[in-house]
Amino acid sequence: MADEARLAEHARHNGGSEDGSLRARLPTLNGISRAGGGVVSAGRGAAGGIAEEVRRRLQRRLTANLDDRDPDYIRENLALTWLLTTVWFRGEVRNLGNVPEHGPVLLVANHSGGNMTPDTLLFTLAFYTYFGVERPFYQLAHNLVLASPVGQILRRYGTVTASPENAQRALDAGAALLVYPGGDWEVHRPVWERNKLDFAGRKGFVRLALDAGVPIVPVVSIGGQETALFLSHGGRLARALRVDRTLRLKVIPISLALPWGLNVGDLLGHIPLPAKLTVEVLAPIDPREQFGEQPDVDEVYDHVTTLMQETLETLAAERRFPVVG
């Protein structure tokens, strides 16, 4: 992995071993001491080693690789996920048979529900019970999600850091890959936009599908944005605090949610309201088959988002009341 190679290079530059571990650096430190580098030099070396170890661990928390997915763990936790999605969210997933039985596929979904993302929970359960935990399935997530306390669990479910490299690697491995182009922007949209698809013009998924030569399967969910009273993305606040540059966070969401009341940032999550969730899987789209050998990215993007918006509106028309469904 590129990150690992960079770390190894960094570790070598600092005189450590490729894994950069403190234990591996001890001989180097001893050597420096014996050569008469003095206590100060040794101290600096040790501090550097500890800093490197902290950095390595932090980097590990911020990244995940495909091998972290643990089918046994997923299988043993299907019951808990089923309970949550059945009893609390009254979840329903339709037309999973639209996902090709074998081979790599790019699942493109809208995202709702703030940091609790109940739509991911439901779709992941449905995918694993339908195709079995043996089928490789990965989800892309913001690196801060993986750094959070639930990051360890998500890794075992197949969640990896959102990056073009990870996406390509998953598809190259023949896996199904779930992406949320709207990401942190869409998931925190205000509640009055709950029936609106908002990918914020992010078209990377189209390029990814074209580069990998895989079909796009749109996945549309509804109900997630009714699990709290989402008031604002907080985009301006994020820019003012510069977290858009430092932490890749485009939003600092503001909502009314349990148990906090006014919830700014949603960093600790919230207790989602038991809104009924419905997910519909649409028929696969082969961009080259449908738009020619050199498809126009904008055209494919418009086609996919229009289809998804129409489906979202159809699902919205089925709902009689918010939360109740």
């Binding site: 808990l80 999605t85 449905a126």
Partner: protein, 164 residues
């Protein structure tokens, strides 16, 4: 969790068995089943494998199953190969009056899922029990209809033979 339902069908065991042994019938009479496909070369009999899914709560649950017991007109049992742990059995017994008592046994769970798994089994039991009861009622209706059709066809044949 173990579930057990039974019904008496006004047809001989052979007719019931023939209906149960045909995999394409399962989508017609099994309640909640969304998939029942032959997996592999062998279509029926001991060792045949099927990919099955049944809608329970928020998900379609099932996996790959294999026929592990096959005693013609008496017992057919399957066990899971992949997916949730499950074991099912059709138990056919002929009554004195020529009718057939059909018992459907179904045991399921996920090993290692602990207390949530135990609660999930309890929560899903009423829905699965309902599926089992409806499946048996539909099986009875289909097989008895088959029997009536077969008898009508035989009578037509007899009449045609007598006239000819």
């Amino acid at each position: 969790m173990r579930l057990n339902e039974s019904i008496v069908i006004s047809a001989p065991p052979k007719l019931v068995w023939d209906y149960l042994a045909e995999p394409s019938n399962y989508l017609h009479f099994m309640s909640g089943i969304t998939r029942w496909e032959v997996a592999g070369e062998q279509r029926t009999g001991l060792g045949a494998r099927y990919r099955m899914l049944i809608r329970v709560g928020s998900a379609e649950i099932g996996g790959l199953i294999e026929i592990v017991e096959w005693h013609e007109q008496r017992d057919m049992a399957w066990s899971s190969v992949l997916g949730v742990d499950q074991r099912g059995r059709w138990r056919l017994r002929e009554l004195d009056d020529g009718r057939t008592r059909v018992e459907f046994r179904y045991a399921y769970g996920v090993a290692g899922s602990g207390i949530p798994g135990w609660i999930a089994e309890l929560v899903s039991a009423p829905q699965l029990g309902g599926h089992l009861r409806r499946s048996l009622r539909q099986l009875k209706s289909q097989v008895e209809h088959e029997r009536l059709r077969a008898e009508a066809a035989r009578r037509r044949g007899d009449r045609a033979a007598a006239a000819g």
